[in-house]
Symmetry: C2
Subunit: 261 residues, 2 copies
Amino acid sequence: MSHAPSHSSSFVIQSGLASRRAKNPAFRPLYQQIKELILRSLGAGDWPPGSMIPSEIDLAAQYGVSQGTVRKAIDELAAENLLVRLQGKGTFVASHSDPNAPYRFLRLRPDDGRALEKRSQALSCAVIPADETVASAFAIQAGDPVIAVERILCLNNDAAAFDQIFLAADSFAGLTLEMLRQEQRPFYGILEGRFGVRMIHAEEKLRAITADARVAERLALSNGTPILLVERTAYTYGDKVVEWRRGFYRTDRYHYANELG
Amino acid sequence: MSHAPSHSSSFVIQSGLASRRAKNPAFRPLYQQIKELILRSLGAGDWPPGSMIPSEIDLAAQYGVSQGTVRKAIDELAAENLLVRLQGKGTFVASHSDPNAPYRFLRLRPDDGRALEKRSQALSCAVIPADETVASAFAIQAGDPVIAVERILCLNNDAAAFDQIFLAADSFAGLTLEMLRQEQRPFYGILEGRFGVRMIHAEEKLRAITADARVAERLALSNGTPILLVERTAYTYGDKVVEWRRGFYRTDRYHYANELG
DNA sequence: AAGTGGTCTAGACCACTCG
DNA sequence: GAGTGGTCTAGACCACTTA
């Protein structure tokens, strides 16, 4: 028999997998079903960020499929930056605290390509009622509580960006300014470590605007300087919006780098 | 025997493939070697944009490897948007003239998510000496000839961007304003069709600036309006730079959309 | 040496498109 | 029905890390 063998063993998980034996109009590949099971385990926190997941052979046995099928599922998850494969070591849950890929979502770069030391300086952290804009991003009612964080981002010890960050109140209840100031990890690393909520994907909208008095002061620029406005919506597992932010990037010494494939 | 079989047949191409029989310090996977062979054929124009490449089975026979190995090579090329797989039909060379993915590199979107009709209006096309900036992008000498094109990009019949485009003179000799005006295809589609040079990858650097008189006039904006400056370096096969451009995007009604993974 | 991911093969069968 | 890509399996062996 060549595929989808009728395992007589009693793996609980496998019983949920749809058969593809006959011509099936609602056909879904096995590896996608496996991918979803892994995704569910990731979302449920079965394997915390940075930890190693079971080996391909183990997973294949658990799910009652061949190693190749598990492999294809993991391949896709690795391509989406949810898992990291390390030959000889194992497969690990991706983490924003990973020193090898810090600030993975930050696209601001110095014009001269010098290596950059990144540092975040939190200014405030408070629960506030959402305004219209923020509420619509989270699909909640205006006035509902959200957590608001303001911070300066320094590149090579120079204030490069000012961020107004809004977090879903239910996901990050208890976040304090002290946490943000004491921790050394990047912002998303802190959220991941303290609240078990990992940012896996984000969308940004960029616009050119002129700095108002407030932003100009934060970035030590003169009023009216052109500024890059970056609005970001960030998602965790299950495409749930857990952050919306408004970033003001100075682009006189820096630029926003993007790759088109 | 399980892999890298000693095919006794006399496929010319295979003779160039490095064996992985023994512990090989300079080990390169077979599928990457196959990938490179396919890439070479693409770069050489053996299979023009939009055309179908040989089937996986054919390629496997030609290269003297298994279908699975060819498959993995094609998988990666498809992931890089160099090939497009269509089940039941075949595998095709990606094309900027493909009506399914027009203006693939354009990230400017209307603020309301309406479907957009895109149209390019060429203003000028001439061979000029490269200035310092352009020369350094192409790694040529200042004063060396390049082709300069200016154009307005309209979204839903509204001037949304003004582009100053510079093209490598050796790759696009003979390009005229008439060609650009008469053709219906997008800009990269024209270059691809007329000169066989396909843009496969680009890098962009974004900055906020204020519109000078010239740009303001082209986009019907008042002088000093904040404008998104987008500098693009575009590459063809072999990472050869064939285009550098400076785009001025208005972002009052539009925004630059980006995905972070 | 053991355990992990990575490569490669051979073969079977399914899904899809087109004539 | 023929041809294409897509899925799945089983098995062998290689590359790499760790102990």
